[in-house]
């Protein structure tokens, strides 16, 4: 999940009678699956929740370019290089749509980016893990994009129109990303013993952080309940996580790789796979900034932004000059 912990600003759920008239009409629209559009009235908490969620998602796309970008210059064939380049380019595009969607809610791209650089905004914990071998590029596509897809498909039906529409396009591209990742894993697993070891090592390192992508168990969470009532969120974190595990087990079997969880076992009664306990202390630690690459990721983004300032300023200054020149001629 690219937005793992979104505060809705709500302290307790209210029943329909407690809602003021405007808010009741708003909730009625949502209940009838009518999309909320930028100019429609919306509760402030709904707006802010969406800004938080969409910007976390946008930041995740942009920071997420870095671990894979790490292998762009070292891709092992020209074909792989082109595919990875197209994928990372898609992520920049996703970031753009999402910042634009957040802008429809009155947030500015610049302010959101500055919040990220100041360490005030979150992004998915998964991108704070390092990519140590080429197999990591495969594992990210297969698992990370696979998990993102499971989370994001329901967002295509999100109540907020601009976000839902952005997600339709993003999901199509994510599906291609997942396939390219799995195809890298297939090639590695069909390759030499060393390549297969590389693939297993990547799976060992990415499996648990991928499960954490869905966020903490939220059955009890007030934020989940509120986000579900607003139809910003359609399923609980645990439901989505289970779906991901069920989907991934046969995929790993096909690759003849071993998922690093001795407790993983098919439950004949539920038809799902039971899995071992997730180390939530690691999740919270990474989310709060203490993961293997948190500091580097933010430092890299900040450096790019700072070093690019003169370029952005020049483009603005040139644009202003052109406007003045046009005005003088007209």
């Amino acid at each position: 999940m690219y937005s793992q912990f979104v505060d809705t600003g709500v302290e307790r759920m209210r029943c329909a009678e407690e809602l003021p008239e405007l808010e009741r009409a708003f909730q009625d629209k949502i209940d009838s699956d009518i999309k909320i559009e930028p100019k429609d009235w919306m509760p402030e908490a709904y707006r802010q929740t969406l800004v938080r969620q969409i910007s976390q998602h946008a930041h995740s796309e942009i920071v997420g370019m870095l671990p894979e970008g790490n292998w762009l210059t070292r891709a092992p064939s020209l074909r792989r290089k082109l595919i990875l380049l197209a994928k990372v380019q898609d992520e920049a595009g996703h970031g753009l749509y999402l910042y634009s969607a957040a802008e429809t809610l009155g947030a500015s791209r610049e302010a959101l980016i500055e919040a990220l650089h100041a360490g005030k905004a979150k992004y998915s914990s998964i991108f704070n893990y390092p990519t140590l071998s080429w197999a990591d590029v495969g594992a990210i596509g297969w698992l990370v994009d696979g998990a993102a897809l499971i989370n994001q498909i329901p967002l295509c039906r999100c109540s907020y129109g601009p976000y839902a529409r952005a997600m339709v396009r993003i999901c199509k591209e994510e599906s291609f990303h997942q396939r390219q990742g799995y195809e890298i894993m297939l090639a590695l697993c069909a390759g030499s013993a060393v390549q297969k070891r590389m693939a297993q090592d990547a799976l060992d390192r990415w499996w648990w952080p991928s499960l954490m992508m869905f966020g903490p168990p939220d059955a009890e969470s007030i934020h989940t309940q509120q986000a579900m009532r607003w139809k910003i969120k359609r399923h609980t974190n645990d439901e989505l996580r289970q779906k991901f595990v069920d989907q991934s087990v046969p995929q790993a079997d096909y690759l003849e790789l071993t998922l690093p969880d001795p407790a993983l076992k098919r439950n004949e009664q539920t038809g799902h796979y039971d899995f071992g306990a997730i180390d939530w202390s690691e999740f919270w630690s990474v989310l709060k900034g203490d993961g293997p690459c948190n500091r580097q990721r933010i430092a890299t983004r900040r450096q790019a932004y700072d070093e690019g300032r003169w370029v952005r300023e020049a483009a603005l200054a040139y644009g202003a000059k052109q406007d003045r020149r046009r005005a003088e001629f007209s």
Binding site: T73, R74, Q89, A92, V311, R312
Partner: protein
């Protein structure tokens, strides 16, 4: 040098220019000054590396030694690369990258346009497709030259410095040698004198629009097309070729 050897060399020049410049551009991904530039740089890199595949695959066929595009990209050392020195120069700041790109694009577009009328049908086919991409590349980089040259005092000074530094690498673009002479006789190689004329007109016009001073003509670097490179290329290749060289028999 026979015709086949000359053709192989010529295709390596075309392919290596595109490959090395594309590789340099991928270094920007994740580090560009704005999201739009991440996408723009990736676009140009995608085009160039795509073109490189076409040229190198055909070079492998012409050579007839069983080497494919990846063998040629990943298994040759510095002295066997045939790109011009300009494209291997480091990215520097964004103005350096834009100046390098523009000086190349202004050459690449007329070159590819000329080659799309080549007597060799394979070359003509690749060039016809690539020239459409190069037309866009030249438009984009020329616009950035004007924007940065005529932007702020800081961007103007930076870009002037970029052009002054890179100018000595432009002479090689048009230098003729035995490869060109051998292929000109059969209408394969482009007429670099005509390419130079168009390059010069376009660059003069763009620099004027950017309020930049054309750098002084003087001594020019050379050697890339014959395999004598700057110190930069070894590092580019070390990074790019690491995996196929570390795992010799692996398929990816």
């Amino acid at each position: 040098m026979n015709r086949q050897q000359a053709l192989f060399e010529y295709l390596l020049r075309l392919g290596d220019n595109a490959l090395i410049l594309g590789q340099r551009l991928t270094e920007w991904i994740g580090h560009a000054p704005a999201l739009e530039e991440e996408m723009g740089s990736a676009n140009i890199a995608l085009d160039l590396i795509g073109q490189a595949r076409g040229w190198l695959a055909y070079a492998g066929t012409v050579e007839g030694a069983g080497r494919d595009e990846d063998d040629l990209a990943f298994q040759r050392d510095v002295m066997n690369f045939r790109n011009v020195l300009l494209v291997e120069q480091p990215n520097g700041h964004y103005g350096d990258t834009i100046a390098r790109q523009y000086l190349f694009d202004a050459f690449h577009y007329p070159l590819l346009t000329a080659l799309s009328a080549c007597t060799d049908q394979s070359i003509a086919g690749i060039a016809a497709k690539a020239s459409k991409e190069a037309a866009y590349h030249r438009r984009r980089s020329a616009e950035w030259v004007i924007r940065l040259g005529d932007g702020t005092a800081e961007s103007h000074a930076k870009l002037q410095q970029s052009f002054d530094t890179l100018w000595p690498y432009t002479g090689e673009l048009f230098a003729l040698d035995e490869v060109d002479h051998t292929l000109r006789r059969t209408g394969v190689a482009a007429d670099l004198t005509a390419v130079r004329r168009e390059w010069h007109e376009h660059v003069t016009r763009t620099l004027a629009g950017a309020t930049l001073v054309p750098p002084q003509e003087g001594w020019m670097q050379s050697g890339g097309k014959q395999g004598r490179h700057s110190e930069q290329l070894g590092y580019v290749l070390a990074e790019m070729q690491f995996l196929p060289r570390a795992y010799r028999d692996a398929r990816w």
